[in-house]
């Protein structure tokens, strides 16, 4: 098992899409393309919206990822926790597949005796440290999220800091929806770190609609763009050299 690249979409929303169909369908599509979709529901203190919550859970379920509802204050920590947990979960899935192949049946790793389990976990930890990571962050910037954007910005800078402390390489891209003319605007193209996000959300004019589904689709396409770009620019930018897609 080589250390390849893990692909994630991280959606930050308050969970009430109202245009463009069911976002879970796009999340399921992403999963088919080996992109996991994780969702963080950002709530205002005291606000708990049933349908929003269900939508958040369903997107992550369909996208093979993790969902977590938080209040604004705990956002920074949650963002990095979810990203890391999702990484481990994906790796765990890969390990499970390998195990079933070796053991010849539907044996999952946690059916091993605790002793062996520990050894497997060490390997997973090790890969998690070294694997390359591509995260497309999709931020809901509709009117109801407006007040939360400065906190989101801080959380992303924090995520970048956490991820930069790993051994493997990282690439991030940042998108916001609804866009000015399209479903989604790319605020920041693929980059190695997100320490330069100052004022990035200020360009946004919050709209009344929340097209979560179409926005997810556009975000998924970002991974294709990265693939193409890396093929073209191979050799020019050193950090793309190791890619072997």
């Amino acid at each position: 098992m080589g250390t390849g690249t893990l692909k994630q979409i991280l959606l930050l929303t308050d969970g009430c899409s109202n245009e463009g169909g069911d976002p879970s369908a796009i999340a399921a599509l992403a999963r088919e393309q080996q992109v996991t979709v994780n969702v963080i529901g950002v709530l205002e203190e005291g606000a708990m919206n049933e349908s929003g919550q269900t939508e958040i859970e369903n997107i992550a379920l369909a996208g093979g990822g993790i969902s977590q509802i938080v209040y604004k204050q705990q956002l920074a920590q949650t963002v990095q926790m979810v990203t890391k947990q999702a990484m481990t979960q994906t790796l765990q899935g890969v390990v499970n597949q390998e195990l079933s192949q070796i053991l010849g049946k539907e044996q999952e790793w946690d059916e091993l005796p605790p002793e062996k389990r520990g050894e497997v976990m060490e390997v997973v930890d090790e890969i998690g440290e070294k694997v390359d990571l591509e995260v497309a962050i999709l931020v809901d910037s509709s009117a109801s999220m407006r007040m939360k954007l400065p906190t989101v910005q801080e959380a992303l800078i924090d995520l970048s800091l956490s991820m930069a402390s790993r051994g493997g390489s990282n690439r991030f891209t940042l998108l916001a929806f609804p866009g000015k003319k399209k479903d989604v605007d790319v605020l920041c193209e693929w980059t190695k770190g997100m320490d330069q996000l100052d004022g990035i959300f200020q360009k946004i004019t919050p709209g009344g609609i929340t097209p979560t589904g179409p926005a997810l689709k556009a975000t998924l396409n970002q991974f294709e763009k990265l693939k193409k770009r890396s093929l073209i620019s191979r050799g020019e930018e050193t950090f793309f050299e190791e890619r072997s897609s």
Binding site: Q53, S67, Q92, G118, D125, E129, G167
Partner: protein
């Protein structure tokens, strides 16, 4: 904390008297009461064949296995046992669902804050000295504690000694920190990254001393470093430690041993000038929170301290540091 919401199932609620029989090792345990509930599972006090133990039942094999791994590695670190020692790791089935659990030594003691309330503030730096000694051993073995904070520590007795309660965040040096808590995380304050290296723990150790004085944790504000400096300079109790704190917070101590040494020097220097001033003996006693350090500089507070207590405390501190020295030499 607010209600956590995730897709995973929660750890099971086990009532008093429940019998658990491990699937693999077949060891029986009887639940006595709940000790606590964390992000990765619930901890119970239980009876085993060998006596009382702490038993943690989780819902996620991954995180439980990680914690077991850490405890196993701890057992290999030389010298005094650092964290609770691992006794057993197994699975149980409750209502058709399998849950992983592990059993560790039950550490009986009180929280750091409770200890300071009951035995005096002067314990603060002494506990940090103990902590730094343990950190030094851990670092030498190639690990970093990671999520270092009062919640993860406990003061056991006798004799009073700080121990590590929850070691789940322990990370191999060179990797990224697994778990952290903002107030104790240098990344949050803009004073470094989250790479697991000794200086990461040393930052947190210094923040624990801050937290002992500022029980209400404060935000970083606009400029994290500036906020910390302001808070250090504002508290008279921190005056003797301000240089030490600033050095630790900016990563200037190369290892835990040097930081411990430096702190012990301050504690012993602290004690001397007061000892030379016998006139304090005459002062009457008042119910007090001992502010030994405020006294030295703040000439105006003289009368608020019971001198006998003060001298005893100082004598103790000297004795404690002497003992540490001896321990160090051996």
């Amino acid at each position: 904390m607010e209600k956590k919401h995730s897709l995973k199932n929660e750890a099971p609620d086990l009532s008093k008297g429940t019998k658990l029989l491990g699937k693999w090792n077949k060891n029986p345990y009887y639940i006595r009461r709940t000790l606590g509930r964390g992000a990765t599972g619930a901890v119970y006090l239980a009876d085993s064949r060998e006596g009382q133990v702490a038993l943690k039942v989780g819902h996620n094999s991954m995180s439980i296995t990680s914690e077991v791994n850490v405890l196993k590695h701890f057992a290999k670190v030389q010298g005094q046992v650092l964290g609770p020692s691992l006794i057993d790791a197994d699975d149980i089935t409750i209502a058709g669902r399998r849950y992983p659990f592990y059993v560790m030594e039950f550490l009986k003691g009180e929280t750091v804050f409770k200890h300071l309330d009951r035995h005096g503030k002067e314990w603060g730096p002494v506990l940090i000295v103990q902590l730094l000694g343990d950190l030094d051993r851990l670092h030498r073995a190639g690990w970093v504690f990671g999520d270092l904070k009062p919640d993860n520590l406990i003061v056991v007795s006798p004799p009073y000694r700080i121990r590590w309660l929850d070691v789940g965040g322990t990370t191999l040096q060179g990797r990224a920190i697994k778990e952290y808590t903002e107030f104790f995380d240098r990344g949050y304050w803009g004073l470094g990254d989250r790479k697991a290296e000794p200086s990461y723990d040393l930052f947190a150790a210094a923040m624990i001393l801050m937290n002992m004085i500022y029980k209400r944790q404060f935000d970083k504000g606009r400029d994290g470093q500036q906020t910390l400096t302001t808070h250090i300079d504002r508290a008279p109790e921190l005056w003797p430690y301000r240089k030490w704190l600033k050095k630790a917070l900016t990563g200037q101590f190369s290892d835990a041993q040097k930081m411990k040494q430096s702190l012990m020097n301050i504690i012993s220097k602290e004690a001397k000038p007061v000892k030379r001033n016998p006139s304090f003996h005459q002062q009457q006693q008042k119910p007090q929170t001992l502010k030994k350090r405020g006294r030295k500089r703040g000439k105006t507070q003289k009368s608020t301290f019971g001198m006998l207590d003060g001298v005893l405390v100082i004598a103790f501190l000297l004795l404690a540091s002497a003992l540490y020295w001896v321990g160090q030499l051996i």
